[in-house]
């Protein structure tokens, strides 16, 4: 089983990329599962066509979506209350205990925002995941968050087999600077594994609660997702990230902007 998790700054497009990749993996004939680790519980909305009941609020929390993709949402508290991190920990414990991912070829964990507390780093521990991908645009703040996430990943490489496998560049920002993202990735010790261009089809599909891979399978953007999926399956690059300092990040962003 390939166990992948995606991290990235909030609103960077993680759920969009994860859901489309999941469909692309399924199209390739893989048995796929997506675990949304976000109290908003909307990682799998475009695969299911609706929001689903979560691990924390139901017994029957495994749902079958597009091409039988297993869709699971951890769930969590309403905004401003409780402890979402603890929710993720409890949900992951339950998923493990119930052994619902048995027989899956690829499982993707879509983790909320930055590694802000122990709960959000739960997928990095106890062999829940093995391969980590960070999604970023070429905006400074997105790269800043990506570098921070690498600090969290680095910590767990010491006690687990978890490794950073690459950066996925989402080109949805106002300016795209793939050379800069490539340079920063190299400084961290990794690579840009693929890029997703901005696309009107993504917006159209999302408003229809669908992935582009399902709704517009013959478009250029769907093809890009399939290419990215193939790259991830074939990717052998696994590294212990070497996060750079904030000053180094600022310097390179200024230099290459």
């Amino acid at each position: 089983m390939k166990k992948i998790c995606f991290y990235g700054k909030g609103g960077i497009g993680k759920s969009t990329i994860v859901s489309n990749l999941a469909c692309a993996f399924a199209d390739m004939g893989n048995k796929v599962a997506v675990v949304g680790c976000d109290p908003k519980a909307d990682s799998t909305r475009n695969i299911m066509g609706r929001k689903i009941d979560t691990v924390l609020n139901t017994e029957a929390y495994v749902h079958n979506g597009y091409k039988d993709i297993l869709c699971i949402e951890s769930g969590g508290p309403s905004p401003g209350t409780g402890c979402a991190g603890r929710g993720i920990v409890a949900a992951l414990d339950r998923i493990k205990e119930d052994d619902v991912l048995k027989g899956v070829d690829v499982v993707i964990y879509d983790v909320l925002g930055d590694v802000v507390c122990g709960g959000f780093s739960a997928p990095l521990r106890n062999n829940v995941c093995e391969d980590v991908y960070v999604i970023s645009t070429s905006d400074y703040m997105a790269l800043y968050a990506a570098n921070n996430i690498c600090k969290g990943i680095e910590k767990y490489t010491k006690s687990t087999d978890i490794r950073l496998c690459g950066i996925v560049l989402n080109e949805r920002s106002s300016t795209v600077n793939s050379a800069m993202v490539e340079a920063i990735s190299n400084m961290i010790g990794t690579q840009v594994v693929g890029n997703i261009p901005m696309s009107k089809e993504i917006s159209k599909a999302e408003i229809n609660r669908k992935t582009v891979v399902e709704m517009f399978p013959d478009t250029e953007i769907s093809s890009r997702f399939r290419t990215l999926a193939q790259s991830i399956l074939e990717n052998t690059h696994r590294c212990v990230p070497a996060p750079i300092t904030d000053e180094e990040l600022e310097e390179i962003c200024l230099k290459m902007s």
């Binding site: 924390l56 969590g76 508290p77 309403s78 209350t81 409780g82 402890c83 979402a84 603890r86 929710g87 409890a90």
Partner: protein
């Protein structure tokens, strides 16, 4: 390093959990509820005015606000109290449940207050000071003019608290109304006599300062009034403030004390110069030190103030190489007592392995006699007597 200083939640709890017609709701995990509840085991088991939300994993994830709301509703329904005190523990304060908002929903129905008891923030003493202050800030107001002695520093579950409070009331009789702040209800706090004197037994200094500033009530600080000297100091402060004469009452206490001790004078001789260890809080340790040293003539070889000294393990090590033949302290000090096989004389919070149901106080008219009786019996119960004094052939035990 080993500490025997209880955490903040116990300080908050001891400031309010004895309040009359009040129910304490602990918004905590089960351990905090159990541990605080155990403080009542040696006292009136039928008077357990406390409940808990028993926070579980779900309360942590989605917040425990719903559970707390339900607990308050159930408390009002089942206990029908006049007031409710909500004390939070570590979990609720880490997750940051909005307790203030939940409590506010009930403010039109009942006197209710939220007190932050998170143990990771501060220790026992700060919790006690904070809780007394918050209670007074919320409810304190002045009404009436009867001569009143407000006492701060007695914990709700202090060993002998109930008996000592009764002893104070008996001693001062009709002349002065005694108001012990950790056990009086909210109604009493709303009607504090303007002719009051606040006496602070080491704890409650912040609230006394607040009352002086806001309610114009003066205060005096002293250690717990053990022994005749302690009682004399208390009488002097009260005499001086209210311009009354308690000389006759004090003389009776002196006579009772002398009459009682005369019966065991031979045993008392043996206490002169006896090396002992003393463990206690700021509120009590000075009063006990003065009594044991100046009135019974003991030699306090080792002393550990639980509010100041941190390393109890170090104190144990020192006690092992000392000559101490007795230790005065709390149930926690069984550790020393067992290691050294010397008697432990309990006088300090917490005492959770003895019951105290008879009206035998350690202060007031009969305080010295009662305490000396407990002391001698404690020595006689000792499995082994230790120290050079005990080896002398004319020691009272053999």
């Amino acid at each position: 390093m080993k500490s025997i200083r209880p955490c903040r939640i116990f300080g908050v709890y001891e400031a309010v959990s004895g309040m009359k017609d009040n129910v304490t709701i602990l918004h905590t995990v089960t351990g905090c509820h159990f541990a605080t509840l155990s403080m009542k085991l040696g006292r009136s088991m039928a008077d357990v005015n406390q409940t808990s939300t028993i926070i579980n994993d779900k309360d942590i994830i989605v917040s425990g606000e719903g559970s707390l709301k339900k607990a308050i509703e159930n408390t009002i329904d089942l206990y029908k109290p006049k007031s409710i005190t909500v004390i939070t523990g570590c979990v609720a304060e880490i997750v940051k449940d909005d307790i203030g908002a939940v409590v506010k929903e009930f403010e039109n129905q009942i006197d209710i207050i939220y007190l932050d008891g998170a143990g990771f923030k501060t220790d026992f003493l700060e919790g006690y000071e904070y809780a007394q202050l918050e209670i007074m800030r919320k409810y304190g107001s002045v009404k009436g003019s009867s001569r009143t002695l407000n006492i701060f520093g007695i914990l709700a579950n202090d060993y002998k608290a109930e008996e000592d409070i009764e002893a104070f009331k008996t001693f001062f009789g009709d002349e002065i109304c005694v108001n012990v702040m950790s056990v009086t209800g909210v109604e009493s706090k709303k009607m504090i006599s303007e002719n009051s004197l606040n006496i602070c037994f080491g704890r409650g200094i912040e609230v006394c300062e607040f009352m002086k500033k806001e309610l114009n009530i003066p205060y005096e600080i002293m250690s717990y009034p053990y022994g005749l000297l302690g009682l004399k100091e208390l009488c002097d402060k009260v005499n001086s403030h209210f311009d009354i004469n308690l000389e006759e009452k004090y003389t009776i206490a002196e006579e009772v004390t002398m009459g009682g001790l005369k019966k065991v004078y031979s045993y008392l001789d043996s206490f002169y110069g006896l090396p002992i260890g003393l463990v206690g809080s700021t509120g009590k340790i000075k009063g006990m030190e003065s009594f044991l040293q100046n009135e019974l003539g003991m030699d306090i070889e080792l002393i550990f103030n639980t509010d100041i000294d941190q390393d109890y393990e170090d104190f144990i090590k020192k006690s092992e190489v000392s000559n101490i033949a007795l230790v005065f302290g709390s149930s926690f000090d069984h550790d020393i007592s067992n290691r050294l096989r010397i008697p432990l004389i309990p006088y300090e919070y917490p005492v959770f392995d003895r019951v105290s149901i008879s009206p035998i106080s350690f202060v007031g008219t009969y305080g010295v006699v009662n305490f000396v009786e407990a002391l001698i019996n404690g020595v006689m119960d000792g499995v082994r007597n230790r120290g050079s004094l005990y080896n002398e052939k004319d020691m009272f035990l053999w």
